[in-house]
Symmetry: C2
Subunit: 766 residues, 2 copies
């Protein structure tokens, strides 16, 4: 699914503090060498992490052959075919696409099969939204054909606009506008004395994950929830609308899942186990990730009369969007009737799995995945990533046919059911959990893709590895390396916003939250993961609508398909290098520096909350909120908060200090054994590779995070209140944010033990 513009923000991006750490780390791991924008692509003699010099030369030659078999024309024809009919879960074309890919993988020489799962997937029988007072209006729940967009007229197999895994319901109630529908919005409403209890919450997309909007509305007593796309965010406020430009036209609707994915992803009925035919299933009413109230997405054409009919207080400045009206909060007099009636049955998912067995280390797997299901036609999301993956598989198959053999086992996966809740990848990961924990050394994900700049997220120890791959791929538009372009963009942005210099010579990897298929691998199993895409030069405002089509893509996303080829080159290098390198890629000093930065953030978070809590108490003691408010527009003071105690950070600080020492020693040893000749280095390399394969699992805890044991990674998780947005060191961070001090102290212990285990494994590798 990938969160398009909204919700994907890596909230806890690496700060300046971390940068300093990362620069320090470069003293240990070699710099990618592309810090200067003028640096040329690596020649045959470039350093590659995990390879000795001679091996690196052979690898570069292999990659040259790989590149020569990538063709933009292939990507274009596969996308046109696969996006020619609606291909959501349960559609005929979804299955046909899986079979099309199976046939291709087999043609290309892979050992491929389709693995099926049977999952709960409700589809709408009836959806409707009507304004019934003070005036009458009926919202359109289908998207009309658009001239020049070939597939938009194929209405027959499309589902109407809906949000999967909301509840069925038929409710009529007053409307309240709740902005993004996030926790801060409800705090503001409470201060204004407005409640959604017994009412329908009208929310707008963005500001946090879609599924949190109806969940929080329900928790505040709402009986229904509407989510609309404001034109300020991805419509005419961003650019000309489709078909004149690429942005959301007035009748386009953002579909999407509202499954409570921050608890667990996958089939709601089979948490933690693969949804095979014989699997034990929860009863529907026990599935915690299915919401309790009806929820529907609407267009801005449909939202405009609803917003215009609202009375009550004028909405706060930050709540106002791009419609030509004054945004009010309500409640009422607008009254809405909404209805959702679904077919609650099982559908079959078709995961396509293709492998090439490793010649030397067959029990170490390098996995590459992208999903093939979409909401309607899905040209950008997900086929832009999918066709790059296919191009990689074709080129690797050709190498294989020519006699080349991977050192480690390659697994290519085309997932089904990502859109409703990362289901295909989750069920497969759960079904194969034991084997994956033993064998999966790396998972490389992609999803959407388009013109622009390389963005990589993932485990911080892979930062240098990812940067080297970026160093060695040429940007289609400028001829510079994609690393140089990405770094330069960051430097220019830093200069233009603050004038400060950002001097990192490596990509800074975003920590991963959720929103695509890396989640079950990284956050449930503890498999080292990366997510790769190009972005930033597209006119893409049709996310999850019927207008995310081939015609849209070829005009506004990646007209030449060359960024698809570039994605294949980057992901292919990551895969081939991780497969072929005598030493699995790692730079642990980068990881340690990132963790040190996150630890620093937690100190500042607690200290800042402490000071702020004290000031709030003073303000409340002095009746300041009454004096600062307009008496004709009463707004209650925020509630008094208990003092913030000093937390037991020492254990975490010590664990981080230890991690920094161990990582530095590990990296030195890594560099040393990398230069040994093969004969002398075998045992040392095997010991290091054995540690690295399972290293990330030391960061998991079988108890998981509070209230969501499925999420076992102690460093990265989707935020309980951000959804796709990541929270790093989530057990501690979210406990502090929610003022649960005992829990914060407890998770300081859990995280510290995980880090100490990580450090001990690093020590053992030496």
């Amino acid at each position: 699914m990938v969160a398009a513009k909204f919700g994907s923000a890596a909230v806890w991006r690496r700060s300046g503090v971390l940068l300093a750490g990362a620069i320090g780390a470069l003293l240990v791991c070699a710099a990618a060498g592309a810090g200067s924008a003028t640096t040329e692509l690596a020649a045959g003699g470039a350093e590659i992490l995990g390879f000795a010099a001679s091996g690196a030369a052979a690898e570069i030659e292999l990659e040259r052959r790989f590149d020569s078999d990538l063709s933009a024309a292939d990507l274009r024809s596969w996308m046109e075919h696969m996006s020619s009919e609606p291909n959501h879960v349960g559609s005929a074309h979804d299955k046909a696409n899986a079979e099309f890919q199976l046939k291709k993988f087999r043609e290309w020489g892979w050992d491929a099969s389709i693995e099926t799962f049977s999952v709960l997937y409700p589809t709408p029988r009836e959806v409707s939204v009507e304004l019934v007072a003070p005036t009458h209006f009926t919202a359109r729940m289908t998207e009309p054909p658009i001239a020049g967009d070939t597939t938009s007229s194929k209405l027959k197999d499309q589902l109407p606009a809906y949000n999967v895994y909301g509840a069925d319901g038929d409710v009529t109630a007053e409307l309240v506008y709740v902005n993004r529908g996030m926790p801060e919005d409800y705090k503001e409403l409470e201060r204004q004395g407005v409640s959604v209890k017994g009412r329908i919450a009208l929310t707008r997309y963005g500001g946090g994950w879609r599924g949190l909007k109806p969940k929080l509305a329900y928790e505040h007593g709402a009986v229904g929830c509407l989510i609309y796309s404001d034109p300020h965010d991805d419509g005419y406020g961003e650019g000309e609308t489709y078909p004149k430009g690429g942005y959301r036209p007035r009748d386009a609707v953002q579909r999407g899942s509202v499954q409570d994915m921050v608890l667990y992803s996958g089939d709601p009925l089979t948490p933690g186990v693969g949804a095979t035919v014989g699997a034990k299933r929860l009863a529907l009413q026990d599935a915690k990730t299915i919401l309790k109230i009806p929820v529907l997405p609407i267009s801005y054409a449909a939202a405009e009369p609803l917003l215009a009919a609202l009375g009550g207080r004028v909405a706060p400045a930050a709540w106002r969007g791009g419609l030509p009206l004054t945004y009010h909060v309500g409640p009422g007099p607008a009254k809405v009737h909404m209805k959702v009636l679904s077919e609650w049955n099982q559908k079959t998912l078709y995961d396509v799995i293709a492998t090439l067995r490793g010649a030397q280390e067959p029990d170490r797997w390098i996995i590459r995945g992208n999903h093939h299901d979409a909401w309607v036609f899905g040209a950008t999301d997900p086929l832009a990533g999918q066709v790059a993956l296919m191009a990689e598989a074709r080129a690797i198959g050709k190498l294989y046919k020519e006699g080349w053999r991977p050192r480690r086992t390659l697994v290519y996966a085309s997932w089904d059911g990502e859109e409703p809740g990362l289901i295909g990848s989750t069920e497969w990961s759960e079904a194969h959990a034991t084997e994956l924990k033993a064998k999966a050394a790396l998972y490389i994900n992609s999803d959407t893709n388009g013109r622009g700049f390389l963005a990589v997220g993932g485990s911080h120890g892979l930062q240098h590895f990812a940067s080297e791959a970026a160093r060695d791929v040429k940007d289609p538009e400028t001829g510079a390396s994609v690393l140089a372009r990405a770094l330069t963009k960051g430097r220019v942005a830093a200069y233009e916003s603050s004038g400060h210099r950002n001097s990192s010579a490596d990509l800074e990897l975003d920590a991963l939250g959720s929103g695509s298929d890396f989640t079950p691998f990284l956050q449930h199993l503890g498999v080292n993961s990366l997510n790769v895409e190009f972005e930033g030069e597209t006119d893409y405002g049709v996310y999850h609508s019927a207008y995310d089509s081939f015609d849209h893509f070829r005009r506004f996303v990646d007209p030449t398909f060359e960024y698809g080829v570039a994605l294949a080159k980057v992901a292919g290098r990551l895969l081939l290098r991780a497969s072929q390198a005598p030493l699995l890629p790692a730079c642990e000093s980068d990881f340690a520096a990132s963790i040190a930065g996150y630890g620093d953030e937690l100190h500042k978070l607690a200290d800042g909350m402490r000071a702020k809590t004290l000031e709030l108490s003073t303000l409340l003691d002095e009746d300041a909120y009454r004096l600062a408010a307009d008496p004709t527009r009463p707004r209650a003071a925020p509630p008094r908060e208990a003092e913030v105690p000093y937390l037991n950070f020492a254990e975490l600080d010590n664990a981080i200090a230890k991690l920094e020492r161990s990582a530095r020693a590990f990296d030195k040893n890594y560099a040393r054994i990398n230069t040994l000749d093969d004969a002398g280095a075998g045992a040392a390399r095997e010991r290091t590779n054995a540690v690295l394969t399972e290293l990330e699992q030391s960061l998991t805890d079988s108890q998981g995070l509070p209230g969501r044991e499925w999420y076992q990674h102690m460093i990265y998780a989707p935020g309980l209140h951000t959804g796709y947005g990541v929270k790093t060191l989530p057990g501690i961070r979210e406990a502090i944010e929610e003022r649960r001090w005992d829990e914060a102290n407890r998770y300081i212990g859990v995280v510290s033990r995980a880090l100490n285990d990580y450090s001990a494994r690093l020590d053992r590798a030496i």
Copy 2:
């Protein structure tokens, strides 16, 4: 005129650094004692700056009598009468209002007269704006009547929408959208390869002073300029529009002066001298403050079809407003025909001047002013302030009739011709310059007023004085002091935005830029000045339109007129205390702390520019802008800048250090002589008062600022490129900003000498 929401921002507000200084200063001058929101109003025994304890008690009693004669009903009836017909310069009702006030002042016992000036004031004979391609549309240049707004139907004597002091012209040309039309906007256009040369610039209000928009458009080659009001800024984006709410309706137009007031204010033909009948006048073509191209203001109803007809690049995100369309830059295909034809003749201004001669120090004047001319009916701007001033005069007249005599001379002024360019106050100041320099100890200005919070701008040495007056006036809505409300609002805002504590116990005075009648007093003559208003709880979006009416005011600005009464209480206290205090009010440590803060800002400005210039050079060397840009949307790199040298700050730093020492010594001495009994203190007080009366003039320099010798104050000036917005230490700051290093060093010398003169005068007072 006052700049409503836009352009009035005090750009160089006092920073945290200054706060620290101000807190230090409180060790010297007594705290106002209202830092806590719960502090009660001062009882009879309160300390008042410049009074010994017994004198303070008598003053409090005098103020009690003053307050008892203020009546909201008076303010209401005067406003209703004075706003009943259009009252712009040259209108019959403008003259009638002056005569009405003259009669009142005389009734109230003042020695009053009308002083006239003859000034150039062009009025439109023909104004028109038409879209002539690709479609046709004619803009409405008058504002239609609105139901429930009594005066809006009085169209007969209204002028059409126009901007006074633009050039006449009849041009047809392609349109370019230039956002706010400020220097940064033209830099962006240049990078996009778009020029306004030979074209008409469409600008939107806000972001800088109105008059800069056509001036900069002309300097970039435009042949005409339109200025429209975007609904995001003061229309439906802010709140319901008039008459449902108080914000700008679709056909409302913001009139206003575009005189090049950053060069000099007043009659364009008589810079530096009073525009008396016999004054020497410039020829029209030599008047530098009259613009060279036609300019007209339009409504958003008129702007919408123009913006919709523009093509070219999509405007940058920050340039987009609240209309339901995609904002484009152009140029064209929109082509516009605009015409301005004016009657270029002289009009008579009617300044009403009323005095009460001081009994003990008749040659020290305390002056109070507000203007009476408006753009149409002018209920909020300027009559809200004017009727408060009248209430003060009435109450003071009553005290006088009852036998009270002011210690120093009081001068009440009702200015004409403020709207076209602060003309009535400027001509009067210039005509009486010699006398004012000798006698004027303080000028207290007001203009608009409405429900909300007290805001005071002015000379920083008056901060404690202003705070004490605010301490002793009760807020009409909450019963707290207006000081407590203003401080509390600041503290809550600081808490909500940053969580930080703002612990100042005094008001922080905004440095004054321009936009109202204090400018000739403060910035031309060097008279210590204050500007006072209540604001922040109004729904005021009809600035300079025909809908700034009595009906609008009584519904959306100050329905009970009690904030008008509160303004009279604050301004009356300032006036009475400055008149009656044995020692003129001053806290020089506050002034010194502010200057130290500004000095610190200049260091940081130069250092920041130096670092940024170096980084830009590196980015340009590395071709970073090419790599960071989307090649399909070319945007040139910014031009390379010369290195920033180290400036000769030592002289300024030494002058500031000296000022801090002298100010502290002065304040200690001031506190000492304040407690002496009258017999012993006479000579010391007279010496101090003599210094204080002319002290501010030591901050002026007869050469003035570069290219604008009329602006002689070396600490405060309207910015050359901000207009109303202030630049502090402008000779140095603007030279640095514009990279004129020799000039920066020269003005470091000029400012340092002025500060040293100031310190020497403080030393002499001891």
